[in-house]
Structure formats: C-alpha cells, structure tokens
Symmetry: C2
Subunit: 181 residues, 2 copies
DNA sequence: ATCCGCATGTAAGTGGTTACATGATTCG
DNA sequence: CGAATCATGTAACCACTTACATGCGGAT
C-alpha cells in the first residue's frame, strides 16, 4: 500500500519511468523508504491496472524506449486520501536490538565487536545523510513548504542516527565498565 | 531468519509453548520485534524440522495439551552463530515520514492533525515503555549482564520515542510559524 | 448465557527479496 | 575491450498479515 502511494507521490511531481523511480528511491527516498526494482515495476503495472496511472511510450531514438508513467486524476485523489489516512506506526523489527537482548552469553570482546560494527554502520548512514543535507538548500516553512517538509524528513533521519550512536556509546561503556569492575 | 533466532533466544531461557511465545512477543520483545501467532507456530514447526528445537507434549489435566518446545544443542549453536553474525540494518520503511515527504499540497490544519495523531501515538508507545521500565529492576553491567543488556534495549526504545517526539514538536512549530508568516 | 483467557493450528493473500534474462550506449 | 549506466522486465521464493476454525474452563 505505502509503496504504491509513494510512487504516486513521485509521479505527482514528474511523470517517470520505472528506472527514474529506482533512482528516486535510491536517493531522495532512501532514508524513509526502500524499494526493490522488481517491486517498482510490479507496482507500476498495478497502478495502471487500477487507473491511477497511465503509460506513454516514448520511442528511444538511439536508446531503448522509455515507458513513462503519468498520474491520473484518480491517482491524485488516491494520493490525497492516503495522505489524510490515520497514521500507522510500523512494527519494530531491528535484528541488532534483538541480538543485544540475547547477548548475555557472549564474551565482552564479542559484544564490543558487535557494537563497533553497528557503530561504523550508523556513522556511515549518518554521514551519507549529512552529505545530502550539505548540498541541498535549507528553506524555511513559510517560503517553500514542500521543500521544507522534505528537508525535515531528512532531519528526522539524521536525528535518529545521532541518538542511536549516543546509545551505542552508552552500551559500549557499560560493557567496558562491567568488565573492569 | 531473525524471527527464528529470537524464538531460539527465548527457548534458551525457558522451554515454551507457542502461546507462551505469543505473550513474550507481546510484552518483553514488543519494542524490538513483532511477531504474529501464525508466524510463531509456523516457525516453531520449522525449528523442529531443522533439529534446532524438540517438542514435548504435556497432557492438560483439566486444560488442552501443551506443546512445549525445548532448544537442542544444535539450536544453541545456531543461536550463538546468529549472535556473532555481521549486523544488518533494516531498510527504513516508515509510512508517516513518507506522508510528511509528500504533504506539501495539504492544508496547514490537515498537516497539524496528522502530526498530532502521530504525537499521541508516540507518546502512548513511550509511556508503555516507561511503565515497563518503572517496574523492572535497573541492574548495572557488572552484576547481571543479561538483565542489564535487556534493560539497555528498553532504553533504546525509550530514547528513540523521545527523540521522535522532539522532532514532531519542531515540525509542528515550523508549520505554525510558516502559517503566521 | 456470553465473553475472556488458554491453547492449538490452517488458508489465502500481500509485500519484499534474489536471481534470471536481454540489449544498447558511453566512458576509460 | 571491458565495465558502468540506461532501460526493460519475469520467476521463484521468503516473510508477514488477516481471516478462518476449534474447544475447554472460569468469571460476570
């Protein structure tokens, strides 16, 4: 459901091919939604079948044909309905936290290694977001609301990573102190 | 994969029935992993088929029979292997953030309503965790590491909710200020 | 009597991942 | 000449959700 609406959201801005959407998910949407290309093509076909999008074949002169998808009026209505629907929080599912929960039997250095790997991971993710943040404009809510909202979603990802890193730090010191005590 | 290992983690502490696991997921595991009962029964059957768990039928005297699952030696090895495996971060998928990303066309009060609903949701989740935190002991890392680790995972959930609420506050004021400007 | 908790599962459907498959163009 | 990018998709599989199905015992 959400995937189809996110795709409609992108199509509402620009008509796009499956490939264009792949790039959109790999860049602008990467920090709040992930989608595989098999899923994207499957979902585009479904949107067309439901009348929420229409295709236009743009013949490639010296490249393969592009199947450009346009949002329909029905599609815009469906998008708005989804935006106003009651929010659902996704069920938490984080394998790392699950590991920590059951890590009691591991040696200290095994747990530390686990924490360090996760820390490197979270730092990389945070740095990737910071880099995007650095190159994009930082508008205020009054001027261009759409881009302000998009920049706020980026902020959310950054804050989440920073908080997670702080927690990982506390976890690591706890193990170190427990070991020395 | 993770679900089967989390189940093994629980079975490593106590032998359990599918129903016991349902309750474990609804309480102690609720803030880091969600599992439906259909999934639990299916996964238990798979663990038995793989030789990682064994069943013992405890006839119910005045209640239905209990199918108690015990972890095997193989099961303990598999659990340890999973604990030491390289961590994978779950792909981000949060419908609410996706909605904010595309919310530019909504009216101010529609966005505010959306934020307020999410805030109520996050506050409820935070309060539920605080309540658990209040009743459980708060051991230090040196004394009982297993329970300290479990309390740290709870902390992580709490911190995440608090940070999210701070961000929702910033988002709300941004909209309000933009509207008045 | 009816609902809640205990206790077990199956069936059908949706959403997501991985691997397979093809072919042109552009850059080093 | 080989690798990367553009561009399209299919097939099979795994994970998760929702609805269906049954039956006992205790409380209101």
């Amino acid at each position: 459901m959400t995937l189809s609406r996110v795709i409609l959201g992108f199509l509402a801005v620009h008509p796009m091919t499956g490939y264009d959407l792949m790039r959109a998910f790999a860049t602008s949407a990467a920090y709040f939604w992930h989608a595989d290309k098999a899923q994207i093509y499957r979902t585009l076909a479904k949107l067309v079948a439901e009348g929420l999008a229409e295709i236009e074949i743009v013949p490639g002169t010296d490249a393969p044909d592009r199947v450009v998808h346009h949002i329909t009026t029905h599609g815009r209505t469906a998008l708005r309905t989804w935006l106003l629907a009651p929010p659902e929080r996704p069920a938490p599912r984080d394998p790392f936290i699950a590991r920590v929960f059951f890590a009691g039997e591991l040696e200290d250095d095994e747990i530390i290694a686990m924490i360090d790997a996760r820390t490197a991971d979270a730092e990389a993710a945070r740095d990737a977001l910071s880099a995007v943040r650095a190159v994009t404009a930082h508008p205020d809510a009054g001027a261009d609301r759409s881009s302000w909202l998009r920049s706020m979603t980026l902020d959310q990802g950054l804050r989440e990573h920073e908080e997670h890193l702080r927690w990982l730090g506390a976890l690591r010191s706890g193990i170190r102190e427990g070991a020395s005590a």
